[in-house]
């Protein structure tokens, strides 16, 4: 236990970065994922194909491979960002595929009469989506989105293998320095992830109650 209590600052630095990574990637994934979902339901076939291709390609690729392609592939074509930016990018690209599917299921859950009525009163496809369909869709998909973002929180640990000092890397460092207390350190890291997941769950629970009431 001493190794954990004496090194809370190391843990704090690591897990703070875990949280920052999660938040930034969640925003990126939400924006990109919504865009892709919109593409998948759009009336323009090439957009639909592109959206479907993206989801199938990224969702069926291990996150480690996505990280490899982003961190080592992009510099080959002269896209050089900081490792932190690369990590946010890789996590956003990957999570966006899952967000897109959740959003699409939300869109499909909105009765088609709603969209038809909107078109009938002269709204464009964009207006229909933005003003009528998506607000109802998002209210329906809070639980699956919560799962996606909790997975994202845990997925940030892959960044630890790609130059980012986050939670698991702080754990690895402490274990190397205190090999006799490895179990305590592992348990502490697990607890940290559990704590963060529970907080996210609670926040999403709150959000769920909010949006359900407003409907």
């Amino acid at each position: 236990m001493d190794a954990v209590l004496d090194n809370l600052d190391v843990f704090a630095e690591g897990f703070t970065r875990t949280v920052t990574l999660t938040l930034l990637a969640a925003v990126g994934a939400l924006l990109l994922g919504t865009l892709i979902a919109a593409m998948r339901v759009s009336p323009v076939p090439p957009l639909r194909w592109a959206g479907t291709a993206y989801v199938q390609l990224v969702r069926n690729t291990p996150l480690t491979v996505v990280f490899f392609l982003v961190v080592f592939g992009l510099p080959e074509v002269d896209v050089i960002l900081s490792f932190f930016q690369f990590a946010v990018l890789a996590l956003s690209l990957y999570t966006a595929a899952f967000v897109a599917e959740a959003v699409r299921s939300g869109i499909l859950s909105v009765p088609s009469g709603q969209a038809e009525a909107s078109r009938a009163v002269g709204m464009t496809f964009g207006q229909t989506l933005r003003l009528v369909v998506l607000p109802q869709a998002f209210a329906n998909i809070v639980p699956p989105l919560a799962s996606v973002f909790i997975a994202l929180l845990k997925n940030t640990s892959i960044a630890g293998a790609f130059f980012i000092f986050e939670g698991t890397q702080s754990m690895a460092r402490l274990i190397n320095a205190n090999g006799d207390q490895a179990i305590a350190i592992l348990a502490a890291a697990a607890l940290a992830y559990l704590g963060l997941s529970l907080i996210s769950s609670a926040l999403f629970g709150l959000l769920e109650r909010r949006v359900t009431v407003s409907r």
Partner: protein
């Protein structure tokens, strides 16, 4: 502490091995077999007499460590450790073909010796106190040390661990080299870019995403060997990792014999020859044999 680093090393080296195999640059510099004594004489009952009588020996070595013990597509391990084992076997009158090489990764070296599944271990085996409690060490025969790998031409002017502050240095998370840089040389988590295997460090250095890579010079040398136009070693090791030859406890006669054999191999030039044909492809100067640490407990 060491096991994590060495298992990552194993992974890295496994990747490096694949690359070497692709390069197909081996074969032309085949090492001449060290001399085999025809009828060596040993005191009856000594460990050497037992081995010479049996006419064969089992040696634990690494199969994934470029330049020291690397088993490529040829199926025969190659490297400085392997050559050292052949020199010792030769003095026992055991020919190269009668040596059985067994893969010894970092985690199984002590158990193999304790269970006597191998007669000796020559496997980039750093002598330290914890290990010395369960096995005996002859040698050391080589002194490794933590060094720094930089891009060819050293554009950032890095000349030692002190000059790494404020630059991006890559190493493996939770490894002893990374810890040394943090605790002894004051590098922060902002300076250090840590990954899980050394090949990622190498790739990031090749891309210019980091300024330096730091770990044992032996590992780094392998990368210079594979890409001499891309990388160079700073060449000033700043830690000491003496590689010894592990033998089971209680074989002092064998230990003394190995130390004598090492000293003789320096005199007759086979030590230099073995080094030049293997690790010497990257490390310019043939190292002097470190002083033996003695076999008494």
């Amino acid at each position: 502490m060491r096991s994590l680093r060495l298992s990552s090393l194993a992974l890295t080296a496994a990747l490096a091995m694949t690359m070497t195999a692709c390069g197909g640059d081996d074969g032309d510099d085949e090492v001449a077999a060290p001399p085999v004594d025809t009828a060596p004489e040993f005191a009856a009952g000594s460990r050497m007499a037992e081995l010479a009588e049996a006419g064969k020996i089992t040696v634990g070595t690494k199969f994934d460590q470029p330049l020291f013990g690397l088993k490529g597509l040829s199926g025969e391990p190659e490297g400085f450790d392997v050559e050292i084992a052949k020199i010792i076997a030769g003095k026992l009158g055991i020919a190269e073909d009668d040596i059985t090489f067994v893969e010894s990764v970092s985690a199984n070296r002590e158990p193999f010796l304790e269970q006597k599944r191998v007669d000796m271990v020559v496997a980039t085996y750093t002598i330290n106190d914890k290990r010395d409690m369960v096995v005996d060490f002859a040698g050391p025969y080589f002194q490794a040390g933590q060094d720094i790998l930089v891009a060819k031409g050293n554009p950032k002017g890095i000349d030692g661990p002190e000059s790494l502050k404020g630059k991006k240095t890559c190493s493996v998370a939770g490894s002893t080299p990374a810890e040394t840089l943090q605790t002894e040389y004051g590098l922060t988590t902002a300076d250090l870019q840590l990954v899980d295997v050394y090949t990622k460090c190498r790739d990031a250095l090749a891309n210019g995403q980091v300024d330096a890579v730091s770990t044992d010079n032996v590992i780094l040398s392998g990368y210079v060997d594979a890409a001499p136009d891309d990388f160079e070693l700073v060449g000033k090791p700043f830690t000491e990792e003496p590689y010894g030859i592990g033998i089971p406890e209680g074989q002092e006669d064998f230990c003394d014999f190995i130390n004598e054999t090492l000293a003789e191999s320096v005199q007759d030039g086979s030590f230099e020859e073995a080094f030049k044909a293997t690790a010497g492809k990257v490390i310019d100067t043939v190292p002097t044999l470190p002083a033996p640490r003695g076999c008494d407990k």
